[in-house]
């Protein structure tokens, strides 16, 4: 147990160290891409908590991502002198509230019904974002400038990509690590119970409605944080941040990476964004590839990339796997 | 008519049947007895193809059934009356009966023994309620309906799972009478039952199951003689 724990912490420390060194190792272009990957990694992690851990297939996760993205942009534009932290905190507060309220409606249904409803709600949000031109900029979107970071003793120029990269690495990194920690906490374990046997939970004193609502709100807030950094990263947000496509994107990332493990979706975000960057350079048939990837994954490797990695590991003699990865089919509602 | 040989069946991960064998001759009414959870229903479902045995063979009129879909088995002339009745709740009684009729023609002299009129003759209650939704029937009526529905398919063999479960004594009597009539018409019947006293009234032979295996096979006399078996596997 403890050696495993140690290995986990070591791994996290290693990744962080690697992250810190990155600006010295790669070009600015790649650093830019890496920042994007980190942001989407959190988005994918939050989605996986919903899909992989709780078995809830949502087509409306972009509601929260977009809400966070827009909150940051709108508040930075309309509140002069607002600090970056406060903008991000506002985004978190906003998505938490929205998650709580929409969750109340959406969680009354399960399975395909839930999927359909979340899709419809996402469309509603999208329609509002498009229509409410005055606030959201409608089709034109909103452009912002990252405010500099005042640490009291010094100010850090956020216009500089490397500086912003470090801020992203720390904030999003901490959020991801917290999400990982979350899966081990009481609530995280409760989420697993929910996926395994919601019926039985009730007879053990758990309020399943509240459990689902808490989780839904939490993942919404995480997605909102990712959305907030999405805006800060691109210094721009438009309605596509809140579109159903943005949900599809995270669904694909999560699915490609594999819903069975915590780290799978992060890998998925990594691969997805790189693929997207290179493939869309080479071909404008990106959606065709995406469709094919979907079908091949569903039919052949429903466990995603992490499943492949796991099976490769199983082939190595002497390394019997004691993990119990959850096959994606068991995660289905 | 039907030979079940050493079948093993699983439900998910739990191994329910550990090598069950039984045999029925044409025209027999055989009763499968045993406590709750020993695998009686699973045996019927395995024959019907609703649970696929992992091992063993089931032959019906010489044809292997293992690996066939339930509908294929049904078309060969096997009727199934499930334990929890499973009538179609949103359909009317008449529509439920129509669901029993099979399109595929089978050769044989006993073709169309059971017609809708005959069924209604046998179950006047159903005729009365022919327009009612399945969900509005009483337990007894539902049981009648499931049996009648199966008969509409003119099966050669009927598998009945606990036909008297939860029924009032008067209705139990009706059901037993109905089974006797069915049997007289030449249909072979394999019945799962817990109601020992009901069973001994109608059955020719008995099988007793304990924990996924057959522990007894024989006629009434043998059963009455085998006090040990009865005590261990059936009685209070």
């Amino acid at each position: 147990m403890t050696s495993q724990k140690k290995a986990s912490y070591l791994f996290i420390a290693l990744i962080f160290a690697l992250g810190v060194l990155m600006p010295f190792m790669i070009k600015r272009y790649h650093l830019n891409m890496l920042t994007e990957i980190i942001v989407f990694a959190l988005y994918a992690v939050s989605y996986n908590l919903l899909l992989g851990y709780a078995g809830l297939l949502s087509f409306g996760h972009a509601m929260f991502f977009g809400m966070g993205a827009f909150t940051v942009a709108v508040s930075l534009i309309h509140i002069p002198g607002l600090s970056m932290w406060n903008a991000v905190l506002l985004a978190l507060a906003m998505t938490t509230v929205v998650g709580f309220i929409t969750g109340g409606f959406l969680l009354r249904h399960k399975g395909a019904y839930f999927a359909l409803l979340t899709l419809a709600f996402n469309s509603l949000f999208y329609a509002v974002a498009t229509k409410w031109h005055k606030i959201t900029g409608g089709d034109d979107g909103l452009s912002i400038t990252r405010p500099d970071l005042n640490l009291g003793f010094t100010t850090i120029k956020m216009a500089d990509l490397t500086n912003f990269y470090y801020v992203t690495l720390v904030v999003i990194g901490v959020a991801i690590v917290f999400s990982w920690y979350f899966t081990k906490t009481a609530m995280g374990q409760t989420v697993l119970l929910m996926r395994e046997n919601e019926e039985r939970m009730k007879f053990l004193g758990y309020n399943t409605n509240i459990s689902r609502l808490i989780l839904f709100t939490f993942t919404g807030a995480l997605a909102g944080l990712a959305g907030a950094f999405y805006t800060l990263h691109f210094q721009f947000v438009s309605q596509s941040a809140i579109s159903v496509d943005m949900t599809t994107t995270v669904l694909l990332m999560t699915f490609v990476g594999g819903t069975g493990t915590f780290w799978g979706p992060i890998l998925g975000a990594f691969v997805y964004i790189i693929l997207q960057n290179y493939l869309s350079d080479i071909t404008d048939r990106w959606p065709l590839f995406m469709g094919l990837i979907f079908i091949v994954m569903v039919l052949v490797i429903p466990g995603g990339l992490s499943q492949i990695i796991l099976s490769i590991r199983r082939l190595i003699p002497g390394k019997r796997n004691t993990d119990r990865p959850v096959a994606a089919e068991e995660a289905s509602p | 008519m039907i030979e079940v040989e050493d079948i093993h069946s699983h439900y998910g991960k739990s191994h329910i049947l550990h090598g069950v064998s039984l045999e029925l001759k044409e025209g027999e009414l055989v009763c499968l007895l045993g406590r709750n959870g020993v695998g009686k229903s699973t045996t019927l479902k395995s024959i019907m193809g609703m649970v696929r045995p992992t091992q063993g063979s089931i032959r019906f009129d010489g044809k292997e059934l293992v690996g066939s879909q339930p509908y294929q088995i049904a078309r060969l002339g096997v009727g199934y009356v499930p334990e929890d009745r499973r009538i179609f709740k949103s359909l009317t009684v008449h529509e439920n009966l129509m669901m029993g009729v099979q399109k595929t023609k089978r050769g044989g002299a006993s073709e169309r023994v059971w017609t809708i009129d005959k069924i209604y003759g046998l179950f006047p209650n159903l005729r009365e309620r022919r327009g009612n939704k399945g969900s509005h029937l009483s337990g007894g009526e539902q049981q009648m309906l499931t049996v009648a529905r199966t008969l509409m398919g003119n099966p050669k063999l009927i598998l009945i799972d606990e036909p008297t479960e939860g029924l009032a004594p008067l209705i139990v009597k009706d059901v037993l009478e109905m089974l006797a009539t069915v049997r007289k018409s030449g249909v072979t019947v394999l019945m799962v039952e817990q109601n020992f006293k009901a069973a001994i009234k109608v059955a020719d032979r008995f099988y007793i199951m304990g924990k996924g295996q057959m522990v007894f096979a024989g006629d009434m006399a043998a059963l009455l003689a085998a006090e040990d078996v009865r005590k261990n596997y059936l009685e209070v």
Binding site: Y181, F182, K184, T185, A186, M187, Q189, T190, L192, L193, E196, N197, E199, R200, M201, K202, F203, L204, G205, Y206, N207, T208, I210, S211, I214, F218, R324, V326, E330 | K13, S14, H15, R35, N36, G37, K89, S135, H136, L137, S138, G139, Q142, E162, T164, E165, G166, L167, A168, P169, V172, Q194, N195, F196, K197, A198, G210, K211, N232, E235, V236
Partner: protein
């Protein structure tokens, strides 16, 4: 003896099908009550209504003077009522330890906490281990439930039921599908773990019923046919008829 659990005139219809037609009975504290009756008599439905899985069509349930009728299942559990299921109903992909711990931590209020890890809570883990030991699963604590044998799964079913430290335990055919030897073990285990608590048990196996219960109620056609001490029930003609069918 006070009226600890008091069930009044419970009716239950399933879209027209009357399953319970006025069930009335009381259970006193620390009593061990068995509910028997032929298949389809409505026993499990009655359990479902007491535990809050279904709502009764009419009637009331009083537990220590509180009306439970409108309370959801998880509240009833927190009031001290727990049940097991006839068809094994555990968390298949979780380990035995995690299965049992889910109830133990619920009992200790560690349900939705975002920061505390159950792993780090010694009291909860010790209690979980103790329960695993009580139901004889200590040796397989870190095996996923799905990999257990049938008998072990049934034991886990009881272990989970015990995990919230209930005062009133409802066991729905705890020995269904067990071999004779397993049943005998199960009886002594149940007898041990439910000592000092109120127990209501549904059972077909009369060995189990007679060795565990001090009162037996016979449910037939959706109502209580008879309620008495075991010896009297055994000799009650109505019960015999109900059980073995009428002549």
């Amino acid at each position: 003896m006070t009226d600890y659990l008091c069930i009044r005139e419970i009716h239950k219809d399933f879209s027209g099908l009357k399953v319970l037609t006025g069930v009335d009975f009381t259970v006193s504290e620390k009593q061990r009550q068995a509910v028997i009756g032929p298949n389809g008599a409505g026993k499990t439905t009655l359990f479902n209504i007491i535990s809050g899985r279904f709502k009764a069509s009419s009637g009331s349930i009083l537990f220590k003077g509180q009306d439970l009728s409108a309370k959801p299942a998880h509240v009833r559990n927190r009031l001290g009522l727990a049940r097991s299921f006839q068809i094994t109903n555990v968390f298949q992909e979780l380990t035995v330890f995690e299965n049992i711990r889910s109830g133990v931590r619920s009992r200790n209020g560690l349900r939705y906490n975002f920061f505390r890890k159950p792993d780090n809570n010694r009291r909860i883990n010790e209690r979980t281990e103790a329960i695993a030991e009580e139901v004889g699963l200590k040796g397989v604590m870190h095996v996923p439930a799905s990999a257990l044998s049938y008998g072990q799964q049934r034991a886990l079913e009881i272990g989970i039921t015990l995990s919230t430290e209930p005062e009133l335990i409802l066991l729905d055919e705890p020995t269904a599908g067990m071999t004779r030897e397993e049943t005998a073990q199960a009886i002594s285990m149940i007898d041990r773990v439910t000592a000092g608590r109120t127990l209501i048990i549904i059972e077909h196996d009369m060995d189990v019923v007679f060795s565990l219960a001090d009162t037996i109620s016979v449910l037939h056609y959706g109502r209580i046919l008879a309620s008495d001490v075991p010896e009297k029930i055994r000799n009650d003609q109505r019960v015999k008829d109900a059980y073995l069918g009428e002549e």
